[in-house]
């Protein structure tokens, strides 16, 4: 499935950091998404479970990631994503964030206000996730 469209003009593959933020251990979704992105040609850094916002931000900066994908099913998404956004701002880094997991519809707006690029709940097709990651990565490369 790897294609030109996951490679930037400079010839570097788009890079996505995928992490389970917080103490929640439900990692099926995060793993499936990580694998699908890898199969689609992305460079995927899968951090796994029990990740702090600090570690995700540090990794994303070190790796010069184009997209951060976090999965949260514990209900702590607002607090954890707030920290993530705050840390990125402190470091003056712009990397789009995608949130997946169990997110009540009424929280979508608040997450968007925080600056989350996309919220992708259960049932989202992998093809759509790949498409969105590609678009966000392209936009970031164009912007920087």
């Amino acid at each position: 499935m790897e294609s030109e469209s996951t490679v930037s003009k400079e010839g570097r593959r788009y890079k996505v950091v995928v992490a389970k933020l917080g103490l929640d251990g439900h990692d099926r979704g995060a793993k499936v998404v990580a694998r699908a992105l890898r199969d689609a040609g992305f460079d995927v850094i899968y951090l796994g479970v029990h990740q702090t916002p600090e570690n995700v931000v540090r990794t994303a900066i070190e790796e010069d990631a184009d997209v951060i994908g976090v999965s949260i099913l514990s209900g702590s998404h607002i607090e954890l994503v707030s920290d993530l956004v705050k840390l990125l701002k402190e470091k003056n880094v712009k990397i789009p964030i995608i949130v997946g997991g169990i997110i009540p519809p009424e929280d979508y707006e608040e997450l968007k206000k925080l600056g989350v690029a996309e919220i992708l709940g259960p049932g989202t097709p992998l093809s759509k996730i790949i498409e969105i990651c590609r678009r966000l990565a392209e936009e970031r490369r164009r912007g920087s």
Partner: protein, 568 residues
């Protein structure tokens, strides 16, 4: 049991039917798909007859026997639900102890018959609520329980001597069980009368659920010590709930769910027997095996799920009898709790989930479960509201009181298709168990990352099939509606954590620190000694006033923490 002449006659008639009746129909109206597959990937035939079972060498007495008798395929009790219904046991708990107590009393008031306690992630991971990593997660997916004070509030006005309580607690199972024991004790209820379950299944945490603390070896010692201690001290308590549910949720096929669960069971039995030698007891499997319990998922694919439960029951009976030499039939009985498959809930058109969970519940009941949780229709969006949970209980009550499926034991027993599926799944599961045995048992297999990788692969393949439309899901890839669901959801009040932390601080001030330090030092000392059972020391530490985080912290100092390699 099959008269060869009779089978031959059926075979001839069957061929005649295929040729004269089916073929002309197929010409006019082809079937909807070229191939019909079960979730395990078995090709399903158009029709099953005695010929299929005769070809498998199927024999009634050997494969089924009678309910309440070896190999327990038809059920573990002679009269099953005619005698006693399954326990209606909704997994529940959120926010503060007060809210959880209120929810429990509500559930009991509308017909729930057992409790199932959900703890928040800090409690499951041995962190007090004021720990920096814990803060956001306090009270979110369950109740916060750092001290017996919280446990006492949760069980306010609930008769602990009459109700059975199941607790989803693993890496901190001893601390939580100690709190439960001490609260009961304070009400004059001795521990030997308490009935319930601690999940205490650390192997599945390493494979799929991810709520582990310590490295595998000390974690196994912890789990095993609880099994041994409870077998002696708490005759009505299930010291472990060996869980396949989380494998299914992570993506396992039905055969993987059976095989990995039973392979975990085998590993625990071996560990208990081995540590029994060091501690002087138990001497045989019959000393503890009757208190081992199990936990499976029920998916919507009805018949294969029923077959899964029946196959698992038959296999465990055989393992206990033939591998471990059990003499007591109770050691051979696979008693299990079931939860409907959370992963099959959809966020789209959430009310449709009620229909799914009804079929799933039916699968569990036709499969002979001892206890059942039905997921609520709103759980792909949030924690369940009171109204949604009520419907989950009503689903169980309608099946129990209105459907009539409980009026006879194992009503699907003898159905050609179901028996064929049961045998097929059993064969697949044995192959996987043999593979794990070849690796040196489940703990070794986990260290190799094998079951983790197998489940991740199955999950990915499943998702690709959903993408291709080979697995239709109403509302997700067929009959899709664009509108976002607007339903009332339950939110945990963030003020909960301040309340829990305030009570924790008060608790810390009120205790005798000399006693606490002494108990924690004792615990550190015995944690290093393989021949000592840990449970009495943890019980004493809780009694002395040590918090969950402090006890877990002491064990972390001795054993270290585990960071699993990530497999995608």
């Amino acid at each position: 049991m099959w008269d060869p002449k009779e089978i031959e006659k059926i075979r001839e008639k069957l061929m005649e039917w295929e040729k004269e009746v089916v073929e002309p129909i197929l010409k006019k109206m082809p079937e909807r798909k070229r191939e019909f597959l079960t979730e395990q990937g078995f090709v399903v035939k158009r029709l099953y007859t005695p010929v299929d079972l005769a070809e498998l060498g199927w024999n009634y007495l050997e494969k089924l026997g009678f309910p309440g008798q070896y190999p327990f395929t038809r059920g573990i009790y002679p009269t099953m639900y005619r005698g006693r219904p399954w326990t209606i046991r909704q997994y529940s708990g959120y926010g503060s102890a007060e809210e959880t107590n209120k929810r429990y009393r509500y559930l009991l008031s509308i017909g729930q018959t057992g409790l199932s306690m959900a703890f928040d992630l800090p409690t499951q991971l041995g962190l007090d609520p004021d720990h920096p990593l814990a803060y956001y997660e306090v009270g979110k997916v369950g109740v916060a329980c750092p001290t017996p004070v919280e446990m006492d509030i949760v069980f306010k006005d609930i008769p602990m001597d009459k109700i059975t309580t199941s607790m989803t607690i693993n890496a901190t199972a001893m601390e939580i069980l100690s709190m439960y024991i001490l609260v009961a004790e304070s009400r004059g209820i001795p521990r030997h009368v308490l009935g319930g379950t601690v999940q205490n299944d650390i192997l599945k945490e390493f494979i799929a659920r991810n709520n582990y603390i310590y490295p595998p070896l000390p974690s196994m010692r912890y789990a095993t010590d609880l099994i041994i201690w409870a077998a002696k001290e708490m005759p009505k308590w299930n010291s472990i709930s060996i869980s396949g549910y989380h494998f299914e949720e992570a993506g396992a096929t039905p055969a993987q769910e059976i095989a990995f669960t039973l392979a975990d069971g085998i590993e625990y039995v071996r560990w208990v027997l081995e540590r029994g030698k060091a501690q002087g007891w138990p001497k045989s499997v019959d000393d503890f095996a009757p208190r081992l319990s199990f936990f499976f998922a029920a998916r919507t694919n009805l018949f294969e799920q029923v077959a899964k439960f029946r196959a698992a029951r038959r296999m465990w009976a055989k393992i206990m009898k033939e591998w471990f030499g059990a003499k007591n039939p109770r050691s051979m009985m696979l008693r299990f709790h079931t939860q409907t498959a959370g992963v099959q809930l959809t966020a789209q058109q959430p009310l449709v989930n009620l229909i799914r969970t009804t079929i799933q519940a039916l699968a569990a009941i036709l499969g002979g479960t001892q206890s059942l949780h039905v997921n609520s229709y709103d759980e792909a969006l949030s924690l369940p509201t009171e109204e949604a949970v009520k419907l989950s209980i009503r689903v169980q009550q309608v099946i129990l009181y209105e459907s009539g499926v409980v009026d006879t034991v194992d009503p699907l027993g003898g159905a050609y298709y179901v028996e064929w599926l049961t045998d097929m799944l059993e064969n697949e599961a044995w192959k996987l168990i043999e593979k794990i045995e070849g690796m040196g048992g489940m703990l070794k297999a986990i260290e190799l990352g094998w079951p983790q990788a197998e489940i991740a692969r199955a999950a990915y393949e499943y998702q690709l099939r959903v993408e291709r439309g080979e697995i239709p899901i109403v509302g997700v890839n067929i009959f899709v509606e664009q509108e976002m669901p607007r339903i009332k959801v339950l939110k945990v009040d963030p003020a909960v954590r301040e309340r829990v932390i305030a009570r924790l601080n008060e608790y810390r001030k009120s205790r005798d620190m000399v006693k606490v330090e002494r108990a924690l030092n004792e615990l550190r000392r015995v944690a290093e000694r393989e021949d000592v059972n840990l449970m009495p020391y943890i019980l004493e530490a809780v009694r002395a006033g040590a918090t969950l985080g402090e006890i877990s912290g002491a064990l972390r100092e001795v054993w270290g923490e585990w960071r699993a390699p990530e497999v995608i």
